[in-house]
């Protein structure tokens, strides 16, 4: 069985600058894979290439054995910034994105009901998105990425700037997705978030993966107690 995500020698060069430098890794189905890296380390560029939004300069990435371009229907992409229509209601937003993915009307009704419940916005289903709180908007943003039942979900800094309560809500939602055997790729600055959510971690630095493994393996390898120390240890030479 093909891995959920398989990346080989993936690279992105813009002008003379190497943004992503021939990275390789694979993620199995149902696994949650964490990308750690400082700002400008190439995380977001890698994410954009894996989600099919950006064309790689070289190398290849396959999602369930298919080229990214052909497997976009299987991908859910949760952007760092909210990306939905503020002037539409929660339900209207979900209906619109579901329709664009070609989800049938009957299935759409049940699916949207389920997602609204999952993102805990049942009471706000008919509220304008602009009227939602920050946490609600984050949840709606995730919900919009789930309307076509993707098998693999990319989360780009899903909890950045959120208060601890809201962050916990998001974690809970991610855990629910893990329970549904969804493959999740996540980037984050928060080490505890990565440790809590990810079964496997890759640390990116200057476009390259400088270390990868389970959080426990990495801490053991570098004989450090905290992932933050591991991260600081790996990116220290550049700072």
């Amino acid at each position: 069985m093909a891995p959920a995500l398989e990346v080989k020698e993936l690279a992105k060069v813009i002008g003379e600058k190497i943004i992503v430098d021939r990275i390789s890794f694979s993620v199995d189905e149902g696994e949650t894979f964490g990308f750690l890296g400082a700002n400008g380390s190439g995380k977001t560029t890698t994410f954009n290439m894996l989600s099919g939004l950006l064309k790689p300069s070289s190398g290849e990435a396959k999602i369930f054995g298919r080229r990214v371009k052909d497997a976009r229907r299987e991908v859910g992409f949760v952007t760092q910034q909210d990306s939905f229509y503020e002037t539409l209601t929660v339900k209207e937003n979900l209906e619109f994105f579901a329709s664009q993915y070609g989800v049938g009307r009957e299935k759409q009704k049940d699916l949207i009901k389920k997602i609204i419940s999952q993102i805990k916005l049942t009471s706000k289903a008919n509220s304008l998105a602009s009227k939602l709180s920050g946490g609600m908007k984050k949840r709606l943003n995730m919900g919009c990425s789930l309307v076509h039942e993707p098998k693999i979900i990319f989360l780009d800094e899903p909890t950045v700037g959120l208060d601890p309560v809201v962050r916990k809500d998001i974690w809970k939602l991610i855990k629910e997705l893990q329970a549904e055997k969804k493959t999740i790729i996540i980037t984050s600055h928060y080490m505890e978030e990565i440790e809590y959510l990810c079964s496997k971690v890759a640390i990116m630095f200057a476009g390259r993966i400088v270390a990868s493994g389970t959080p426990a393996q990495l801490k053991k390898k570098y004989k450090l107690k905290q992932m933050e120390d591991v991260f600081a240890h790996l990116v220290k030479p550049a700072r």
Partner: protein, 642 residues
């Protein structure tokens, strides 16, 4: 100091906002160019104007020549008023001039004629410009026609004056001829009184006869003279002597030949005899010797005879030579005599020639005298012809008196014809009836197309551009890019929804106009819908393209204004396009707003056929659709939105 920093910050912000900078530079230039042109002068140029009615008559050609020369109008002839008015309503013509059928006849008789001008009163500025231009031209034409009346009168009077002058000249000429004739007659009469022509003629004739007689006698004398006879004799004698000399010469030559032949024969006989004697001396045969002796004797006898003959011939030759000398001497004497005779004859001939020359000179004098007499006769003849001429001149004078009467009659007729014309009519022969073609119930009627066009332009521009900008600022465009085909769908959906909104907007405008301003319902609702749909498709497409390139909503609004404001100037909204500079004409045709305004004007006011504008909008939409596709393809890079 803090206020200075604040000012610096504001200036820096403006400098970094390129759209605002462009607006700050472009707007004043644009306003200067087009407002200056529009308000600077209201000169119109080359406006298409239909002409119906007789255009090739002398008076109408004056009018249309003046209209053409003004360069304000491009006159197009129509056979039918109906066809011209259809083109007028379709927006192909700005006015129609209808010339009455009796135009030429009315003006020709000195009456006035009324020209109808159908104008587009929905465009007041253009209407006023057209009427002002036409008014001045018609005023000029009227003046020209008046001038033609006056010129005609002047021409008639000039011709009369010319005829009178010609007549006076003829009279003077006749008088001069008569005086000349009279003086010639006096001279001739004076000359004639001194000459007896008959007597002179008779004496000349008798002298001529005498000369002829003398000439005949001299000729006769010349022919029968002794000298001529002697000359004939000498000629004949010389001929006979020459002939005898020739005969003697010929005979002498023959005898010389015969003598030579005989001498040759004798020599041959001598040789034969010698040979026979040698043979005989050598032979011992007696018989042969005897025979040889006989032969030798025969040959000697023959030789002797030949010698005798040769001697005779020699004697004859000598005689002939003597005769020849005698004849030669005789011929010489004849020649000398002939020379002397020729000299004598020449002398005589010279003498007679001189006499004949004298006679000829005399004869020439007689001939000259006769010619003089002939001239005299001609003088008499001239006297007769001059007399006849005097009669003719008198007749001419009588005829010219008749012409003077005719001239006076003509003058009276011309004056009567010209003074019969009404001075007031002649002063202003053309009048104009302006026919406003469209009914105006309120101030809204004629601005309704512009209201709709402007509303559509701003709503479509802003709705489309801001909608696309919001997709980018809200990052929803990232989701659309993630979904295969979703961005294209979104663009089509935006245009379609804006088109529906535009239909609602136009409907609302029409309902308000109907209810509040009593504007009539458009006769062709389907064309209103079609026009709105086409307008919205084109304008929304422009808005979509603006949205893809604008970074923010304010930039989209600024860019929309940057595009909209020139279109307001050139799109038949603020100014009539015909009143703007000619170089903007082509640009106007490229602007969708011009076609949208014209389309709604035709549909709502003129009730014509807006197919030209619909086709133009269709072409614009196709081009813009292609530009949108290219824009969407180029703007798919996610890096621009994250």
């Amino acid at each position: 100091m803090r206020i200075l920093h604040a000012i610096r910050k504001e200036l820096l912000e403006t400098m970094h906002d390129h759209t605002m900078l462009a607006a700050l530079i472009v707007f004043p230039v644009f306003v200067m160019l087009f407002m200056g042109s529009a308000f600077g002068s209201i000169e119109i140029q080359g406006l298409p104007v239909g002409v119906v009615g007789p255009t090739n008559t002398s008076f109408s050609s004056v009018l249309f020549s003046d209209l053409n020369q003004s360069q304000a109008f491009n006159l197009i002839n129509y056979d039918s008023e109906e066809v011209a008015m259809t083109d007028f309503r379709d927006g192909q013509l700005r006015a129609v001039i209808i010339v009455p059928e009796d135009f030429e006849a009315a003006l020709g008789s000195g009456s006035s004629s009324e020209v109808r001008i159908a104008v587009d009163n929905s465009d007041i500025a253009l209407q006023e410009a057209i009427l002002a231009a036409m008014g001045s031209v018609i005023q000029a034409s009227s003046t020209n026609i008046t001038r033609s009346y006056v010129t005609e009168a002047w021409d008639d009077l000039y011709l009369l004056n010319q005829s009178a002058a010609d007549l006076a000249e003829d009279l003077n000429e006749s008088r001069a001829k008569m005086e000349q004739t009279r003086s010639q007659l006096v001279k001739i009469q004076e000359n004639m009184s001194n000459i007896d022509i008959g007597k002179l003629e008779d004496s000349l004739d008798s002298a001529a006869d005498e000369i002829v007689l003398m000439q005949d006698k001299i000729a006769e004398q010349n022919d029968s003279s002794f000298l001529n006879k002697s000359e004939d004799f000498l000629y004949n004698a010389s001929f006979a002597v020459n002939h005898s000399i020739d005969t003697v010469g010929e005979t002498h030559a023959k005898l010389v030949d015969q003598s030579a032949e005989l001498n040759d024969t004798i020599d041959a006989l001598d040789a034969s005899i010698s040979a026979l004697e040698f043979i005989k001396s050598t032979t011992s045969d007696n018989l042969t010797a005897t025979a040889l002796e006989i032969n030798i004797a025969t040959l000697e006898s023959l030789r002797n005879t030949s010698v005798q003959q040769a001697d005779d011939i020699e004697e004859e030759i000598l005689e002939l030579e003597s005769l020849n000398d005698t004849l030669q001497s005789f011929r010489s004497s004849l020649e000398d005599y002939g020379v002397e005779l020729g000299q004598v004859k020449a002398d005589q001939s010279n003498t007679l020639g001189e006499v004949l020359d004298g006679l000829s000179a005399l004869d020439s004098s007689l001939i000259e005298s006769k010619q003089t007499i002939t001239k005299l006769k001609l003088l008499f003849s001239e006297i007769n012809s001059t007399t006849n001429e005097i009669d003719g001149t008198l007749e001419e004078v009588l005829e010219q008196t008749g012409s003077v009467d005719a001239l006076i009659n003509s003058l009276q007729g011309t004056v009567a014809a010209q003074t019969a014309k009404d001075p007031e009519t002649i002063a202003a022969p053309l009048s104009v009836k302006v026919e406003n073609q469209y009914v105006r119930n309120s101030f809204v009627d004629f601005i309704l197309p512009r209201v709709i066009a402007v509303s559509l332009m701003f709503s479509c521009f802003l709705l489309a551009s801001i909608s696309v900008v919001r997709e980018k600022t809200s990052k929803t465009i990232v989701r659309l890019l993630m979904i295969p085909g979703a961005l294209g769908n979104a663009v089509v959906a935006k245009i379609a929804s804006i088109t529906l909104i535009s239909l609602g907007q136009v409907g609302l405008i029409l309902i308000i106009a109907l209810l509040l301003f009593a504007v009539g319902m458009p006769s062709n609702i389907m064309m209103v819908v079609l026009g709105t749909v086409m307008s919205a498709l084109v304008l929304a497409s422009v808005g979509i393209i603006i949205g893809f390139y604008a970074r923010s909503e304010s930039a989209a609004i600024q860019t929309s204004l940057l595009i909209a404001i020139p279109m307001l100037f050139l799109g038949n909204i603020i100014f009539s396009p015909d009143l703007l500079p000619v170089y903007t004409q082509a640009l106007q045709q490229l602007l969708p707003l011009s076609h949208i305004t014209n389309l709604f004007k035709i549909v709502l006011i003129t009730d014509g056929n807006p197919s030209t504008n619909l086709i133009a909008l269709g072409i614009a939409f196709v081009i813009l659709a292609i530009v949108q596709i290219i824009t969407v393809m180029k703007r798919r890079d996610i890096g621009q939105y994250i």
